[in-house]
């Protein structure tokens, strides 16, 4: 009996695949489809502050959410016309390739292997690792931490590469790994660690929520570009989203981008220079 089940499921897969080819062949431009639909469908996360998360009232907020609203404003002249599909980070690529979403903006690191499966837009943020210190603590900045050598303990989120990552910035520091973010910050608060190494965006958000208690050691490393992604094979749609993001970074929508940046990272992004457009 299992043999027959296998034949049946293989048959179903073959039918599904052939129908998929027909479906993609008859699809016309995504830009027209989105305009006709009257709303933009964006895949994003709901568990990762400050990118996409739920505020206390259960509302989806974050930098990625604001970026999606900027793109919707470009499409419909109305930033509210977005439907968010919340997805786990594993679902980012499949939800794009199967057309469940028009685009995904979800703290997605641009890598060459991923670019073989989806089309990345231009980056809208560069993530990195930064060091959080207690304000008025023993060490004032990265130079002081580095000078202290093996006398420094750094708390970090548990990760295969965590030890190497910290040693890139502080070669002799002792590394304490924790299995959740709360414990990592707690180690810093209780003095078990002298610094906490975490994503620059998380650090900024944490500092914004706890004003005047912490300082950034002023050193960032491990660059990763964050970009939105769309399905491959539709140059007009990719170009539209790229244009919308570019104008948010350096053009007419810079004001909205700046507001979002200040809201979630607590600092002002560099203003676009007038004149030469790069």
């Amino acid at each position: 009996m299992p043999a027959i089940s296998k034949v049946l499921s293989t048959g179903a897969a073959v039918v599904a695949l052939s129908l998929a080819f027909i479906a993609t062949a008859e699809a016309d431009g995504k830009l027209q489809e989105v305009l006709a639909r009257g709303k933009l469908i964006v895949g994003t996360g709901s568990t990762n502050p400050p990118w996409g998360f739920q505020d206390k009232g259960g509302k989806l907020v974050g930098f990625d959410i604001d970026l999606a609203h900027i793109i919707a404003k470009g499409l419909f002249n109305d930033p509210a016309k977005v439907e968010f599909v919340t997805q786990s980070s594993d679902a980012r690529i499949p939800n794009i390739t199967t057309g469940q979403v028009d685009m995904t903006c979800q703290a997605m690191t641009v890598t060459a292997p991923r670019a073989q499966q989806v089309a990345f837009t231009i980056p809208y943020y560069r993530e990195g690792v930064a060091l959080l210190l207690k304000k008025g603590g023993k060490y004032a900045d990265h130079a002081a931490l580095k000078a202290a050598g093996a006398g420094v303990t750094v708390s970090v989120l548990q990760n295969v590469y965590a030890e190497d990552m910290v040693h890139q910035a502080l070669p002799d520091a002792k590394v304490d790994q924790f299995d959740n973010v709360g414990l990592m910050y707690q180690a810093l608060n209780s003095g078990r660690a002298d610094a906490a190494a975490t994503d620059a965006s998380s650090l900024r958000w944490f500092m914004k929520q706890n004003p005047d208690r912490y300082v950034d050691a002023g050193y960032g490393w491990n660059p990763q570009n964050y970009a939105c992604a769309v399905k491959q094979g539709d140059a007009d749609w990719l170009n539209f989203v790229n244009t919308a993001i570019e104008q948010a970074l350096t053009g007419v929508d810079y004001g909205d981008y700046k507001t979002a940046y200040e809201t979630w990272f607590g600092v002002t992004p560099p203003a676009p220079a007038i004149g030469f457009p790069r």
Partner: protein, 217 residues
């Protein structure tokens, strides 16, 4: 502890909303899955061979596949065909298909355990096939069916947590979202663990009460 109480109180609407989603998904999957299961079970025992073969293939594929794979398949396979199911609908579909296969097997076992003489006697007094099923076989099957059926219901509530993967805002995903905001990992997982326990305990108690009602007196 004070922190947990404050944070849990702040998040009460979100937690309740998640619990409501979990309950409605589980209830839908159980009701639809049970209806499907009765059809599958009857087809497995009395169907003509092509129908029996189809029911057998369905039950074997569904029971032999991890629920997580079914959930992902229900979400992505229709999308490939151009049919975009909402995560909620895809999730209910996956759990219903899974539930239907299990209950189909339960019904097959329960029907198979009733002596043949019963069917023969019922036919001898002139009942039609559906009459035999409705008045003689299924009522008797119900007694041996109830305990494993309650067990399947509890399994469905637990399986509903897997829908967090496709973005259904059920209790587990809502909890992960709360933890993403306040970093109180252990405390909130324990809290919702307790909520799942309460729900499943209630189902088991309701099941026991039901068993007592239909027991031989």
């Amino acid at each position: 502890m004070d922190d947990l109480i404050t944070e849990a109180w702040d998040a009460r609407d979100v937690i309740l909303g998640g619990l409501l989603q979990t309950l409605s998904i589980s209830a839908l999957a159980i009701v639809l899955g049970t209806l499907l299961g009765v059809l599958v079970g009857v087809a497995l025992v009395y169907g003509a061979w092509p129908l029996r073969l189809a029911a057998r293939a369905y039950a074997d594929v569904m029971r032999g596949t991890p629920v997580l794979v079914l959930v992902l398949a229900a979400f992505y396979m229709p999308a490939v065909l151009g049919l975009h199911l909402q995560p909620f609908a895809a999730g209910v579909l996956a759990l219903t298909l899974f539930c239907g296969a299990h209950i189909g097997e339960l019904i097959r076992g329960a029907l198979g355990s009733i002596p043949r003489g019963q069917t023969e006697a019922a036919k001898a007094v002139g009942l039609t096939f559906f009459g035999v099923l409705a008045h003689v076989l299924l009522p008797q099957a119900l007694r041996s069916l109830l305990p494993p059926w309650i067990n399947t219901c509890v399994e469905m509530v637990k399986a509903s947590t897997l829908l967090s993967v496709i973005g259904v805002g059920e209790l587990l995903l809502r909890t992960q979202e709360i933890i993403g905001r306040n970093f109180m990992t252990l405390q909130f997982y324990l809290l919702v663990g307790a909520l799942y326990l309460v729900v499943n305990f209630a189902i088991e108690q309701a099941g026991k009460a039901l068993e007592r009602r239909v027991a031989f007196r």
